[in-house]
Symmetry: C2
Subunit: 266 residues, 2 copies
């Protein structure tokens, strides 16, 4: 079971959209995929038509009450399962503050289903708190969706130099950053060009260093701004189902191939 965390503490950069559509692309090409929602806003589930009322089992109960993980999993399509969240999870940040081993709870819970999936994608909230730390500890790899605007570089270096580095140093030495996905990309603007250049420069300066991002790259396939990606969420579908001929669908299919290899194409 390969596990990948989808991380960026900046809000609204495309983490959930990327988790859903990469997951759908991988499921379509034959992988058994589990999507884990670590955001109390529960958007990953909603994106695929899965809405869990308060009080119903979610990842919250898995993390705070040792609920068997299988009991919170919901099917979202062929070979595509979701471990949803809802607002109950908002309490987790404070409830887990003094729990022993609070950073390893997700990793340990996922081991219960490891044989059932080829790929686990973990969608994170826009913060670097205990939920995101759980993702970085449970995952072997990291993808960073990023919108090429000014705040991207500052947040990016903070995410890597502080959070990723410490998790790798203290808890998960195998953690590796696969790369950066340019989301909602507008290639033609000078601002996006400058930001992408800065990100590439940061990564190139770390080649050969003993850091988690030594081999990370900015993927060539960018996800262009496409209204079909936004519309798909209101129909509770991945863009592959909602608008299979759209640029949004094509970009995510191509991106899945670039990141995960030939097996990921439909």
């Amino acid at each position: 079971m390969r596990s990948v965390a989808i991380i960026n503490q900046k809000g609204g950069v495309g983490k959930t959209t990327t988790t859903v559509n990469l997951g759908a692309a991988l499921a379509r090409s034959g992988s058994r995929v589990l999507l884990v929602d670590l955001d109390p806003q529960g958007h990953l589930g909603l994106h695929l038509g899965v809405d869990v009322p308060e009080g119903e089992p979610t990842i919250y109960d898995v993390l705070t009450d040792e609920l068997p993980l299988r009991q919170a999993i919901v099917s979202a399509g062929d070979r595509l399962d979701v471990l949803p969240s809802n607002i109950d999870l908002a309490a987790a940040e404070s409830e887990l503050v003094s729990v022993l081993g609070r950073e390893v709870l997700l990793r340990d819970a996922l081991e219960q289903v490891a044989s059932g999936y080829d790929m686990v994608l973990i969608d994170c909230p826009p913060s670097l708190g205990v939920l995101t730390i759980n993702a970085l500890v449970a995952a072997s790899e990291v993808l960073i969706p990023l919108q090429a605007q000014f705040f991207a570089l500052q947040g990016f270096s903070k995410l890597l130099d502080k959070t990723v580095r410490l998790v790798r140093q203290r808890i998960n030495p195998a953690l590796e950053v696969l790369g950066v996905i340019l989301c909602m990309h507008e290639k033609q603007t000078r601002l996006s060009g400058e930001v992408v250049e800065d990100i590439r420069g940061f990564l190139e300066a770390s080649r050969g260093e003993p850091v988690a991002w030594a081999n990370a790259k900015v993927y060539d396939i960018c996800v262009r701004r496409n209204v079909k990606l936004a519309e798909a969420t209101s129909f509770g579908q991945s863009v592959l189902d909602y608008a299979p001929k759209s640029n949004g669908a094509q970009d995510y299919l191509d991106l899945a191939v670039e990141i995960f290899g030939a097996g990921a194409s439909s």
Copy 2:
């Protein structure tokens, strides 16, 4: 001193951009304005060229260490001051968990400078935790920037029905929602039209109810997507200084007039 909280738990919808540019518009028209950054990512300060190294006084020290508020304030232009944050503030959510009166810390601190400002705008992080609660308790009014996409309605009703309602009921009975600002708006898409209609419907259904949003409206002035708004941040300026003739500048000047009245125009 009038205090307004700028709130939306959804990430990347334009909270910081709105706080900075409405604040700049009000300062230009003669108001003495304080912008408060409650987001550990510190983007409000960065947006205006104010970057506080870790360990330097910020809102974190005001909230957790009773630092006099004045000592953390920085000037960002004529009649425009900033109370910045930085990553130190990320610790506040867990540190404040068991502090007596943890929701009123910002309100009490702001009273130290009340006579020095006409308007305080409080920029919130993308969450409904203790920092955002402090904003809702310190403020008399709320503005909700919103991107007209699927998740907007679900997050909007949760923000109002849960968080705003409880704060008004238990701690701040004067709290009032002024309205919704459509940010990064793309008027021509069917999706945005449907979302705006849903938001208007929600608000109209609450007319005459004893709720904080009984008189809230969706403002007629929308902030259109405009690359100048994104570029301004990389120059550490408001869009009024960076690109005074742009649509972004015009939209925020017009919006300041619509929300706060004739005195807010330059």
